[in-house]
């Protein structure tokens, strides 16, 4: 597909841009790996000691040399070694990624399972009281910061009910799916809350648009019953904005949900990058931001492919 190849060609360009941006910005931040490791004690180092440590962390060269070295490695798939983890950056990322992916998938599933039917329902009840209730709920969902939702969930469950999923020791899905889901469900709900609200709102307005289209009138004129009109004729046409929104949100979620990961103590990408920034683990910050950006672009690509799947005009057109 022509359009696809053009998108693929811009991939490396954008990635290069991202890598330069992250490289420069992380180095503009005061403090380095040495102060991150030694804290105020770093002041006790003699100049020779400091030089030795800079060489150890690979920050003794100029930026350009560092970037060149890093880029050369990255092109060969070597993102460098994380100083905090003492492991190749890619290994560290790939250890954290499954959780982030699962969390993103679960939140999206919740958002779509709740938001889509709610939005469609509201659209068919346009301007009636049930529509208003759904809309108000959706707006409240959209206007509550997710840390408030997360903290309230934890608080209500632990104080009010005395139960809480195991926090801290995270169980991978394939080790014990039940326990894993038990751990993931609350963060997923926290993230899915606002996500579902957005899906509700966008699917409602898209459905309203579609329901006023000529072909819906045609379907009705053929005697298609109300449910058939909604699910078979209208919904597939209303999905594109929903896919767009879900794609963007999902893409962001793949970058890690810093706040929710922090509250629920999940070892995901978001916290990893946050910690990497705080600990000045340059290689890890660079590698993971690049990884996240790549994911984001792949998700966008998938979204575009989904458009083609949904809409034959895009599938067969020579866009």
């Amino acid at each position: 597909m022509n359009y696809l190849t053009r998108r693929l060609v811009t991939f490396p360009l954008v990635m290069l841009g991202v890598s330069i941006l992250v490289f420069v910005s992380i180095r503009l931040v005061p403090g380095d790996a040495i102060t991150a490791m030694l804290g105020t004690e770093a002041g006790l180092l003699t100049p020779d000691q400091r030089a030795a440590l800079e060489a150890y962390f690979g920050i003794d060269q100029g930026w350009l040399v560092q970037y060149g070295r890093w880029l050369a490695g990255a092109l060969q798939g070597d993102l460098g070694i994380s100083v905090t983890y003492g492991k190749p950056v890619l290994d560290v990322i790939l250890e954290r990624f499954p959780l982030t992916l699962e969390l993103a998938l679960l939140s999206m599933a919740i958002a779509l399972l709740v938001g889509l039917p709610a939005g469609v329902f509201a659209a068919t009840r346009n301007e009636r009281s049930s529509d208003l209730v759904v809309r108000i709920l959706a707006m409240i969902g959209q206007s509550t910061p997710n840390f408030v939702v997360g903290l309230l969930i934890i608080f209500v469950l632990s104080v009010g009910f005395g139960v809480l999923p195991v926090m801290g020791t995270f169980t991978p899905f394939f080790e014990n799916p039940l326990q894993n889901l038990g751990q993931m469900i609350l963060p997923a709900i926290t993230l899915g809350f606002a996500f579902a609200a957005s899906v509700t709102r966008i699917s409602r307005s898209a459905m309203l648009d579609v329901l006023s289209e000529d072909y819906v009138r045609t379907a009705r004129s053929k005697g298609v019953p109300a449910l058939g009109v909604i699910w078979r004729h209208a919904l597939p046409n209303a999905l594109i904005p929903v896919v767009t929104l879900s794609g963007v949100e999902f893409g962001y979620l793949l970058g890690g949900a810093v706040i929710v990961e922090q509250i629920f103590a999940l070892p995901g990408l978001g916290r990893m990058v946050l910690d990497a920034i705080l600990q000045r683990d340059y290689a890890l910050v660079q590698g993971s931001v690049l990884f996240i950006a790549l994911n984001f672009m792949i998700v966008n690509l998938i979204v575009d492919l989904t458009y083609a799947l949904l809409d034959p005009r895009i599938r067969l057109g020579d866009r």
Partner: protein, 511 residues
Amino acid sequence: MGLPFFQTGAARRIASGVALAAMLGAATLTAPVAAATLRMAWSQDATGLDPHKQTAFSSIRLLELIYEPLVRLDSDLTIIPALAQSWEFAEDGKTLTFKLDPDAKFQNGEKVTSADVKASFERLMAEETGAAARANFLSIASIDTPDETTAVFNLSQPDVPILTAMTSINAAVVPASEIASGGIGTKAIGSGPFKLESWEPNAKEVLSANKDWAGGTVSVDGIDISVLPDETAILAALRTKQVDFALINDPLVATLVPNEASLTLDRTPVLNYHVLQLNPSRSPMTELGVRQAISCAIDRQDVLDTALLGEGKVAGPLTMPAYATDPAELFCYERDVEKAKQLLADAGHAEGFSATVIAATGEPPTAAAEAQVIQSQLAEIGIKLDIKMMELNVYIDTWLKGDFDMAVALNGGRADPYSMYNRYWTKDGNLQKVANYIDDTLDDLMQKGRVETDPAKRKEIFAAFEKHLAEMSPWVWLYTSYIYTAQQQNVDGFVATPTGSLFGLSAVTIK
């Protein structure tokens, strides 16, 4: 005080709890098996495994469970044996001899020998290691190893505090073989009570008991440490019995622990001190009167009551019980706004001035609150403070450069006054640039204290030092706080030390 605003009847609470647990899946209930593994949580993880390089409290707490120094401090800050069974200063104070525990073994099975001690200290002293603690050991001229269990430190000058410095895990003895192979920092092979089985930074550690530990018998099978970055989550985990033992930093969270009948909160006063650092090289803090005015204008107890909910003790510069003076005897520890105004006016700043105070975000958790109370208190004498919060590393960078008017800080304390303060208040102290204050009296007292071996005389010297320091007010010392450990009823035997060490976990039992 606690008023849980979702109060429910006990019966309903249990019933709904069960229902909810079922809903969330059986997995959410904590394992009922009385495992002998201690489940523990903390909010800040270690940042590395090299005992000679890591200086953050969070790293030291972990490494103290794995590595051992030659000597360590007990809960009264008395020096007690660790790897060394005994030690002795020579008459001239220039030779220090250690006798090692012949049973001590590293976790790789090798015996701990005097060669390891020599190699460890040589590594520590080498510039390319980049060990911050090197500054404390500059007086070591050479190390002799007459036999496997004897290590002799030859000092270039009498140095009493060096023994206290050796209690730090930053002076841990590591296997010479690991030094040679370059494995320090990537693996953790110590001689301590626990072995590090796995470490996932910022997520969790798994420790197992070291059966061969020469220092005693560890009664738990191991420790699973979870990193829960949000301390409210730690509290929630304690409430739902997911963890047996937790370390808490934030007094706001800690004070909630006793509300839960099944939990015990232990608070131990620590040597670390909360302080408002002034920069005496910056006008108008160059004026003694201005600094003293600030000291007089601050109501230390009020800051403590507000920012830490009273969780701490107003303290002078010397926080170790053996040397501490009653704060009431120190300069202006009773707030005196009138005097402050007078001092300020005498210094030519009757109408006050503006300054910026820096503080680190979340380190300590109470920093922002302290800054705000101080801001409000100083406003009363016309000093307008501008608070600048900084991410920790940015703060450290700024702090090390001495690039601030004032700084809210939580600085580390030591069991020995000299080790604690020589870096700031001697003329060639490594952090003299941070303190930015040169005072012959302080320098002189420091040097005297360093070489004096008679405890009573030392105490006298440092009492004079403390009094002078408080009066000169280069900094405004506020108070010391607590380290908090919370534990379930089934945990027993933990003893905390004022250094904040969790070494006491080696003696913990689980019922």
